[in-house]
Amino acid sequence: MEKQIILLVEDNPDDVELTLRVLNTHHIANEVLVARDGVEALQTLYGTPGNPPGRLPSVVLLDLKLPKLDGLEVLRRIRSEPSTNRLPVVIMTTSREERDIVASYELGANSYVQKPVGFEAFAEAVRFLGLYWLLLNVPPGQ
């Protein structure tokens, strides 16, 4: 089985660590790329001058509230690029604002997950996402 890559776009180091802990605990991903802000996420996906991008991740776990370029902008960019317009993007955010949810789906998010405060619930959500998008979901054209 080919190595599964997850791109986690998250500025909160606590959340990064906890997410990674869940993914590791459940052996969901072989490789998790972490981007700390929107710009870094795009650089990871599309590379920088003289630094071409690596292989595309299987799924992007995208936080909305990010420094520099926020999550919705990143999503818009992902959907507008031909190379990534079918890339599964799951919005994982603390926000419960409806407008965020609506905007995310309108921009083509594949799923929207609200991060609960309780860790068990959080862990369950991350585990389910990882399983679904990495193991069960069959991406189009593959």
Binding site: N12, D14, D15, E17, L18, R21, L64, K65, T93, T94, S95, R96, E97, K115, P116, V117, G118, F119, E120, F122, A123
Partner: protein, 695 residues
């Protein structure tokens, strides 16, 4: 248009009086003229009748005398008598034979013609023969002595004083060859037969008088109505006497008193054969009786007419006066109002003819246009309009005629060229066959200023509203940002606290004693509880921003759904559930779901310690009051006031966990729908939460 009131007080009584007076005067004048005409006619008729009568009487006298004179003439030429006298010598006395013959002859004449006596005198005056022995009266002797040489017979007369009183004596004298014949006449034959002294009609005062003058006295020859002497003598100085007047003047009408002093009317006529006057006379009263009767008739009828008319008019006036009084009062009020309207009214009033020519203008028009009235009345309405509004008056005139009243706004112009906005209300009316237009023109400058002011105030207000709205929007955005921040930034550290505490529990459980693990669980509990509170707070704040979309909500279905979910979470609770069917409301379905969720969750929560818990959802009453009833812990109604305030709790959180926001959210939702929520409960007896929604 100014001037005295249009309705004058009718001085009817005066007019009526004048009218009545005129009618009365006219009636009297006509009546009098008619009366005078009639009276004159009657008087003239009486005068003619009296003249006729006097004429007849005089003719009768003359005829009688003519007859007597004729008789005398016949005797004087009697051949037998002349023959008998032939033999008599001049100055000789007749012999006894001849004397007897002569006396026989005279006697037969006297008897044949009815003389008192007949006498034959010799030229020297001695008696040759006579029918009686009575001597000749002195008046006869005087007459004989003064007799002229003429051959025609004549009449002489005198009033003799006799022992029985004065008596008229008359004689007819005729010359005969060799002598003189004296025929003594009997006046009674003339006066006594009634044809002379009588009156043709039955008259109480009418009489015919035979008058003669003797010296300076007037003699009444025939018997008068006055008792006493048959021949009456009155002095000629008594000119008031009709008889005296008759003797002193020619034939004609005489007015005066009669011999008895009674006012009389007479008509005199001189006789031909004797210097006598025949006079017919009536008492003035009798003469004027028909006239007086006529006058009385006229006066009576006229007076009656006037009195009746006056009475009728007086009655009519009395009856109508009350009505006039009322009308007058009304009229006065109306007149005052009209005058005030036209003089002091705030509106310009112009009367225009079909060509737009000003026919009449009120004081206000004079003041507004700054032309005087005479100038205005020479102008056309187009001269008063602002140049840009001048135009076709004919069209407007037709429109006014057709619609009878039109109203429009335009601009008019003063004499100095300044314009002002006006509102015109025009109305057509007919005056003496001419169609005119009355335009009431209101200067709406002030109105325009007000409108402008209102507009500017409205604009200011709108501006302020915009500013406030902007401020509100800013505040709202800030609030949203804050909420977002709370939702996002505060929850992340909490998740960290809980997450790493969990990691500690998992990875380092063997290195912590039970107390350490307990602390960890307390840390995690606190973090999770804080997360819950923040979620609830966000819900509460979101409610104010959530827009209500009312549709028909099936509350029964929602309640069942919620309870089903609760049962799935805790299938072993064995709560008895009762949900009434078909409960519906006009409300926001999502929010109603939150309300039911809150109430049913509470019921679920507080029945936890009951042996046979029961939860009921239903409705009571006509106004559809819904309720959620449980037989759980209930609460003390003393604290019912705190029930719906945020973060107020009536139970120990350790016993019944919760943030204390749920009921506050419930109340907020129901208030936003225009409904309300309240509760009834007792400690240990369960609680019932009621809510209603406007239908």
């Amino acid at each position: 248009m100014s001037g005295p009131g249009l309705l004058q007080k009718p001085k009817l009584l005066a007019r009526l009086g004048i009218l009545y007076g005129c009618v009365a005067v006219a009636l009297i004048a006509v009546g009098y003229a008619s009366y005078r005409y009639q009276a004159t006619y009657i008087e003239q008729d009486g005068y003619r009748r009296m003249a006729y009568l006097a004429d007849k009487k005089a003719a009768r006298l003359d005829t009688w005398l003519d007859e007597r004179l004729g008789d005398a003439r016949v005797m004087a030429t009697d051949p037998l008598l002349l023959e008998q006298l032939q033999g008599l010598e001049r100055g000789a006395r007749p012999g006894p034979g001849l004397r007897r013959q002569l006396e026989q002859r005279l006697r037969s004449v006297k008897q044949a013609y009815g003389y008192v006596s007949v006498r034959l005198l010799a030229p020297d005056g001695t008696t040759l023969a006579a029918t009686g022995d009575a001597p000749m009266g002195p008046w006869e002797a005087r007459a004989v002595a003064t007799a002229g040489p003429g051959s025609e017979p004549w009449v002489v007369w005198d009033v003799q004083s006799l022992p029985q009183g004065p008596r008229l004596a008359m004689a007819c004298l005729a010359r005969i060859k060799g002598g003189l014949l004296v025929f003594r006449l009997d006046p009674a034959a003339l006066l006594g037969d009634g044809s002379m002294g009588g009156w043709p009609t039955n008259s109480p005062s009418g009489e015919t008088l035979l008058l003669a003058r003797q010296g300076n006295r007037a003699l009444f020859l025939n018997r008068t109505r006055r008792p006493g002497a048959p021949v009456l003598s009155l002095p000629l100085e008594r000119r008031d006497l009709v008889g005296v007047q008759a003797l002193l003047s020619p034939d004609g009408l005489k007015l005066g008193v009669d011999y008895q002093g009674v006012p009389s009317v007479g008509f005199s006529h001189w006789a031909k054969r004797v210097p006598w006057v025949v006079m017919v006379k009536l008492d003035r009263d009798e003469y004027l009786l028909p006239v007086r009767r006529l006058m009385l008739t006229y006066a009576g009828l006229g007076g009656l007419f006037l009195v009746v008319t006056a009475a009728f008019l007086a009655t009519w006036y009395q009856r109508e006066r009350a009505e006039w009084g009322r009308l007058e009062a009304e009229g006065r009020a109306l007149g005052r109002q009209l005058e005030l309207l036209s003089r002091y009214g705030n509106d310009i009033v112009l009367v225009l003819d079909a060509g737009g020519q000003v026919v009449e203008a009120n004081d206000r028009a004079v003041a507004a246009y700054q032309y005087d009235r005479e100038q205005l009345c020479r102008m056309n309405i187009n001269d008063l309009r602002a140049p840009e509004t001048r135009g076709d008056f004919q069209g407007q005139f037709e429109r006014v005629q057709h619609d009878s009243n039109i109203r429009f706004k335009t601009r008019h112009m003063r004499r100095d060229g300044s314009g002002f906005p006006v509102e015109v209300s025009s109305m057509a009316f007919d005056l003496e066959g001419r169609t005119l237009v009355q335009s009431v023109i209101r200067d709406i400058t002030a109105q325009h200023e007000y409108e402008a002011k209102i507009r500017s105030m409205n604009e200011q207000l709108e501006q302020r509203v915009l500013e406030r709205t902007a401020q509100l929007e800013t505040a709202f955005r800030e609030m949203e940002a804050f909420s977002y921040s709370v939702s996002h930034d505060l929850r992340a550290p909490l998740r960290g606290i809980d997450g790493f505490s969990h990691a500690l529990q998992e990875d380092y459980a063997d290195r912590l004693d039970p107390r350490g693990l307990h602390y960890l669980s307390r840390i995690r509990g606190g973090a999770q509880r804080m997360g819950q509170i923040m979620d609830d707070l966000l819900d509460l704040s979101r409610l104010s921003r959530h827009e209500l979309t009312r549709t028909t909500v099936d509350l029964s279905a929602q309640a069942r759904q919620i309870l089903q979910a609760l049962e799935q979470q805790e299938p072993r609770r064995g709560v008895e559930l009762a949900v009434q069917d078909g409960l519906q409301a006009q409300a926001d379905p999502r929010l109603m779901s939150m309300v039911l969720g809150q109430l049913l969750n509470n019921a679920w929560k507080f029945t936890r310690k009951r042996a046979n818990p029961r939860i009921e959802f239903g409705a009571t009453g006509a106004d559809a009051t819904f309720f959620v009833r449980d037989n759980g812990a209930g609460f003390d109604m003393t604290y019912a006031g705190k029930l719906f305030q945020a973060f107020q709790r009536l139970h120990d959180p350790a016993e019944y966990p919760g943030t204390g926001i749920g009921l506050a959210i419930t109340q907020r939702i129901l208030l936003r729908h225009g409904g309300r929520v309240w509760a009834e409960a007792a400690v240990g007896q369960g609680a019932t939460f009621f809510f209603n929604l406007p239908t």
